[in-house]
Each structure stands twice: as structure tokens, then as C-alpha cells.
Symmetry: C2
Subunit: 432 residues, 2 copies
């Protein structure tokens, strides 16, 4: 391609994105004035129209699955993008849950009459336009559109190319629901081109887009952090640690460790590295390794732990800084013997992604110290890291799990899709 | 310079920044466990040591002023960087104010016993490491270090090269105060090289820095938005609007407009564009223009307003999209006659930087409509835009004025320098 062709193409992408952004912004102004009841009626309409379109949606999804097979995707990847009647019913059922949640928009806080004569209040309002970039999970299309509309936001969706047919039908059903209520269709827009230059352009659309949420792996998160001029909510990457203190109840500890590692190893709150106090390592490690080995776990062990792991007939590789920096997302576990709680905390500070960490101990002093010193989104005493989740935390809905510190941290609920504005009433009041 | 020299230099900068980052992060862990009393003692010590070093500080500042004169800086710029005894006393006095404020760290919210057996709470904690990039205002060095330390954060400062001598002495006095209390000096680090590549590197130091605050003009804000992989708090750019509704009390309106435009025209909350309802324009504009003209204001007028402005003998230039997109920071005012409140709101949506907007009206319906429809950090009814300010809002301290929507919006107080972590206690609890 010649330079002038490239430049023409890039101008075309920019024009397309500007239009998308303008449309989303205009729609967001309309959404911002809807009442909670109007927004819930919209969600009910979406739910009903999705139910009425099950056959169309499954047919579109079947095309995606067929293409995935043609393209040689793994069974695990095909399973992720697959919809069937039961999964679709689950997605639609979740909409009822969102309808039942309180609307975080319109709350007023910090209201006061100031000495300068102004009456001041801080009112919660929608963010405006949210851009969501995600991978091959068609449920995200519905989930995120519904959460955005519940909070009066417009959304620009860019899903994985592997689910493009499913996403087209799902987003069209939602747009039809909007139109049927005389609401702006462009409250939900899908980018249906697989062109990666569009993602880079979307990340620079700061005139129109107020927040970017990347829902996907490490590479997508880094891309967004590095390229975006729009605020990004990074998240969903968990290098999670569990420290077994010398005063832990070792019998009860094993079940919690197994839960953290094995219950659902492919998710971000699953355990990645087990830290064990050296004074109990020789007693405890063989037991826990034996049980985890039976459950199919393979190990990366530090120098001190390798022989203890191997003694149970388990697979063990020498651990290094690289393996301790890995989010396994599989039945693999790093193991490190530490001199004491401070070495455990030091290891966590060096290698954690700031998602979830736990201590198991019967020592109330050690428990407090660990909670105060460890700075991650979620810190547990005597509990599995698997609890870091919007529904487990009683938040009702989960937009994402943030591992950054601004705006929202850990499981993000509906209120993370709002901001606030300051409103002040005077009587032709000037600043003295 | 050869390519290999450039690359060696860039490796050197990276090593320097990594060291800075590591030191700041290590210091931040120590600061996070300080009690409010310990932090206030630190601030008192800083205040006392600054008072004891007035002569050194003024001598260093005199060098900056001399260099500024040699380099031909304008009087206005020299005035911005100048310290004298009275200004320094003001800076030191502000520390007492910060000491008296409540410490936002350590609050717990959302505490509950969950159905799954966990006791959950959300505890406010320091952000960690804050990077601040600012221009030639030595007061920022003290202000921001004090606010960061009050909230248990480490800070990396990069001030303008025009105040390097002042900043070196000020930051050294603060570091000495830290050391005198056996606290980590590296809680406050100054980048004293004028090399711009260091700023670019700092903006990518996301392993260590949790937030970037640019305190400066449009170019600095854009640089940070575009280059930073760390969350940035954009702010301090105000293209502010005031709409005179047809039902405004026109006599009382004039004083508010004059206050918004003239009281301190060089700051971000000063008025930039006056929007006037067409039904009152012919009556009202000559009066307001006449008064503002007497106060030295020059005008950019829309087609409809130019003749009315010129009739008062005032300077008027034809306004266009570019002038309506300008933050004047001077005695210049854009004027536009609009058909109605909707055109006023449309103009604000198109041209505002999202800082501060006001409506003047006696019509309660118009007032509500304007407040609901305009989405800026601060929206006023019958008041000057000049009120958008931490102290006017009763917040005690102002870290910055944010014009973005995530984390903090409008005047940012101490709590914007904190985040939270989720803490959960179980009894060897696994996720079902």
C-alpha cells in the first residue's frame, strides 16, 4: 500500500470514529435525563426482545462457531464464544437482576449552605460515553450495554472478531429496543470492523469518550495503558498470593488453599503463589502438595521447596522471578518458603498485580499486620482469594475488577459508571 | 550525538527513574503506617524548618530571579516565580491550615457481614506515589509535598527549570525534616535535571507511580494525557460560560458578569464566553459592554453582537470557532447572542472544557433545566464562575481542579489523594 493510500485510509478511520463519538455523545445527553423507571423499562424491553430473538442469536453464534472451527481455534476458545439456549437464558436472566438494583444516578451528597452565600451540592451523574474493548465473549456485549444503560451512559463496543456475528445480532436487538421506545439507537454502537487501527483510534477519541474499559488479557491491558489518552480502568489481571503463617491451623489451611487454586483456575482471583513460613514448611508442604497433586496441580518451587514437592511425586520446576511474575490461569502453582511474614509481604510487594492476597493464621497480630501492610485491592484473613468478585461482595453487578487505584478498586459496581457534578445556587452572587 | 550515545543516555535516564521510583515506593510503604499525629508532627517540623531557612530560600530564589532576568523572561513570569518574606510566610502559614484538616486515611466504609461468612470493609489508604509536573511556581513544591505527606503519600516533583534553585532548597528542607524524625527522605524527591526526556520517562513509570498530576497549561496537560501510561488528573483548563437568560435581572446580572471576567482574569475559573438570549441582547449588551469596556475588557463578538459592542466604543473582533475554543486568561471576552436556552446549552456542550458554567435567571424552570442539562464540573445558578475553588467550596485544601470525570471532579480535596482497599476476615472460609 502506498503512503497516500495509508493516509487516506487513516483519514477514513478518523472520520468514522468521530462520527461514532459524536453520535454516542449526543445519545448520552438524552440518556442522562431519563428517570430510573424509564431506564428499567428500557432494560425490560431489551430482555423481552432478546428472548424473542433467541433463534436469530443462536444462528449467528453458530456462524461464529463454524468460523472458529475452520480457523482451528482450540476447544477452550470455542467454548468461551459458544452460546446455547441455557447460556443465553442466563444472560437474559441477569438483566432482571440489574433492573432490581438501585439506580446510582441523581444522588446528592455534601449539600451545604456555604459562608459565601452559595448553596452547594454534589450530584451523581452518568459518566457519559464508555468505550469497552473485549475479547471473544458475546455475553459481555449484553452485560456491559445493560450496565451502561442502567446508569444512563452511552457505550461504544469493540468485541473480538471471533464473535462478530453474535455481537452484530445482539447489539442490533438492543438498538431496536432503544428505537422502539423513541430513545437514541446510538446509545449502543458496535464497531464491527476487525481493523486494529480502529482500536488505536478509539483510544485517542478523548473528545467524546469518557472512560475505556478493557476486558481481556495482559496484552490488551498494556495496549490500553500505553496508547490511551482517555482514562482507562485496568483490571482483571491477578497474580494472587496466599501466605501460610507459622501459627496457621494447618489442617484447615489445606482446604482454603485447594479452593483458591483449584475451584476455578482460569479466573483472575485464583491463587498463583503459595508462600509458606519456613518453620512449618517441612511439616506442612508435603500434605498440601499431596492433596493438590491429586487434584492435578503442577508446581514451580523455590530452592527450599523443590525437594519437599518432589517427595510427593508431583511435577516441579525451578521457580524464578519470571515464574513468580506469571498469572497462571491454569492448574499451576508457584511455591516459596519465606523466613517470616516480612519476607512474605516483601515478595507480595514485588510480584503482586495488586488484585487479591490472603494470610492464613490464628495469630491476631500477624493478621492485622498483614492487612495493614499489604496494599492490594482485596486483602483476606483466613479466606480464599476466590471471593474477590462483585456478587460475592454483595455489590449486585460487576462492571470489571479494577487493579488500579483511581476511581474504583477491586470489584466495580454500578456507581463506578457515574461521576458527579457540583451544583451551586446563589442570588446574583459574586466572589468577594 | 550518535545513535549509540542517545541510547546510552536513554538507558541512564531509565536507570535514574527506576531508582527514583523504587525509592519513592519504599518510602510510601513506611508513610502508609503513620498515624495522623505522626504526620502532623512531620508537617509542624517542615513548617519550623522552612521558617528557620527563610534566608537560604530567598537567596536561592534570588538566583532564579536573576537567571530569569538574564534570560529575558517577562515581568509577569518573573512575578510568578518570585518569593519574598511575605509570600513565603503565606506558604508556611498554609501548612498550619493543612495540619488542622481531618486525615482522610483509615476511614472504613461499607462494612458488613456477608452471607458467605466474610466480614468485609472498605478502608481508605494512601494512593502510594504521586508524580507532580508543574511550571514556574515554587509554592507548588511546598503545597503539594505537604498535601501528599498529610495523606501518607510519597511524591516525585518535577518543577519548572526557571525555579530550580528555589525548588532544590525547598525540597531539601523538607527532606531534612523527614530525616530528623527518622522518616524516609525519599518520601519527597525532586527531579532537578531540565532534560525533557525525563518527563517522558516519568510518565511511563507505572511500576512505581500511582497518579500523575500536571499543574500547568494546555500543552502540559495534552503531553500528559497523550504520553502517560499512569492515570493522570487533567485539570485547571477552564473555558467558562455564563448565559444571561431572557428572565434575568439585568441590573444585578452586570455585577456578576464583571466579577466573573475581571476580578482575576488570569485564572481558570474566570469567564471566557458570555451567552445572551436574543430577546434581551439589544437592551442588555450595550450596558454590560459599556461597564466591561471601562474595566479594560476587549471583545470577540458573534455576528449579531458586533455592532452592539462597537456602539459602546469597545474593541471587537469577529468571533469564530477558534476564538470560542480559547481560554483567554486575560481581559478578553467572547460574546454570542443565542436564540434560546437550548442554543446556549448546545454552545456550551461544543466549546466548554467542562470546568464551570453559569446561568443568570429569575426563572426557576430555566435554572433547573440548565443545571440538569449542562455537564461540567461546576454549574451555577445566579453566581459567578469564580467560585470554583477548594477554599470557596469549603474543602480546606485544593490539590488541583479536575476537569476529567474519573476519581475526582472539580476542586480536589485531600481525599482525592487516597484510594481504598477491601479487607475481609473469614474463618478458613472457602468460596462455595
Amino acid at each position: 500500500m502506498s503512503a497516500s493510500e495509508t493516509s487516506a485510509q487513516s483519514a477514513q478511520i478518523q472520520a468514522y470514529l468521530n462520527q461514532l463519538g459524536q453520535q454516542a455523545k449526543a445519545a448520552s445527553f438524552q440518556l442522562a435525563s431519563l428517570s430510573s423507571q424509564q431506564k428499567n423499562t428500557l432494560l425490560q424491553t431489551i430482555s423481552a426482545r432478546l428472548s424473542a430473538n433467541v433463534a436469530n442469536i443462536l444462528a449467528a453464534n453458530a456462524k461464529d462457531v463454524a468460523a472458529a472451527k475452520d480457523n482451528g481455534l482450540t476447544d477452550a476458545m470455542i467454548d468461551r464464544l459458544l452460546l446455547d439456549e441455557s447460556r443465553l437464558a442466563g444472560i437474559i436472566g441477569d438483566i432482571d437482576n440489574v433492573i432490581s438494583l438501585a439506580d446510582p444516578v441523581g444522588k446528592e451528597a455534601a449539600s451545604q449552605l456555604l459562608d459565601n452565600g452559595l448553596r452547594l451540592t454534589q450530584r451523581s451523574v452518568p459518566l457519559g460515553v464508555v468505550g469497552v474493548i473485549y475479547e471473544a465473549r458475546p455475553n459481555v456485549t449484553v452485560d456491559i450495554a445493560v450496565l451502561a444503560l442502567k446508569t444512563g451512559n452511552a457505550v461504544i463496543l469493540r468485541g473480538g472478531k471471533e464473535t462478530i456475528e453474535s455481537n452484530k445480532v445482539l447489539s442490533q436487538v438492543i438498538r431496536d429496543a432503544l428505537a422502539s421506545l423513541d430513545l437514541p439507537e446510538d446509545a449502543v454502537q458496535l464497531i464491527d470492523s476487525p481493523d486494529r487501527a480502529i482500536v488505536s483510534g478509539l483510544l485517542r477519541l478523548d473528545n467524546y469518550v469518557d472512560m475505556i474499559i478493557p476486558r481481556g488479557g495482559q496484552n490488551l491491558q498494556r495496549l490500553c495503558a500505553e496508547q490511551s489518552s482517555i482514562p482507562v480502568i485496568l483490571g482483571g489481571i491477578g497474580i494472587c498470593h496466599l501466605f501460610v503463617d507459622k501459627k496457621a491451623d494447618l489442617n484447615r489451611a489445606i482446604d482454603v488453599i485447594a479452593n483458591a487454586k483449584v475451584q476455578r483456575p482460569t479466573v483472575c482471583n485464583a491463587l498463583d503463589t503459595l508462600l509458606v513460613d519456613q518453620s512449618i514448611a517441612a511439616d506442612f508442604l508435603p500434605h498440601v502438595v499431596s492433596q493438590l497433586h491429586d487434584l492435578g496441580v503442577k508446581f514451580y518451587g523455590c530452592e527450599q521447596s523443590q525437594a519437599l514437592i518432589a517427595s510427593q511425586g508431583a511435577d516441579v520446576t525451578a521457580a524464578d522471578d519470571e515464574s513468580f511474575s506469571t498469572e497462571w490461569l491454569s492448574l499451576t502453582l508457584g511455591v516459596k518458603v519465606v523466613a517470616d511474614i516480612d519476607e512474605a509481604i516483601g515478595h507480595i510487594r514485588q510480584f503482586s498485580s495488586g488484585h487479591s492476597e490472603a494470610i492464613l493464621t490464628d495469630d491476631i497480630h500477624a493478621a492485622s499486620y498483614f492487612m495493614n501492610q499489604v496494599d492490594s485491592a482485596a486483602v483476606y484473613v483466613n479466606a480464599s482469594t476466590r471471593f474477590t468478585d462483585g456478587s460475592q461482595f454483595g455489590l449486585g453487578a460487576e462492571v470489571a475488577v479494577s487493579t488500579q487505584k483511581l476511581h474504583a478498586r477491586g470489584p466495580m459496581a454500578l456507581d463506578a459508571l457515574t461521576t458527579y457534578k457540583w451544583l451551586a445556587w446563589g442570588d446574583y452572587t459574586s466572589r468577594p
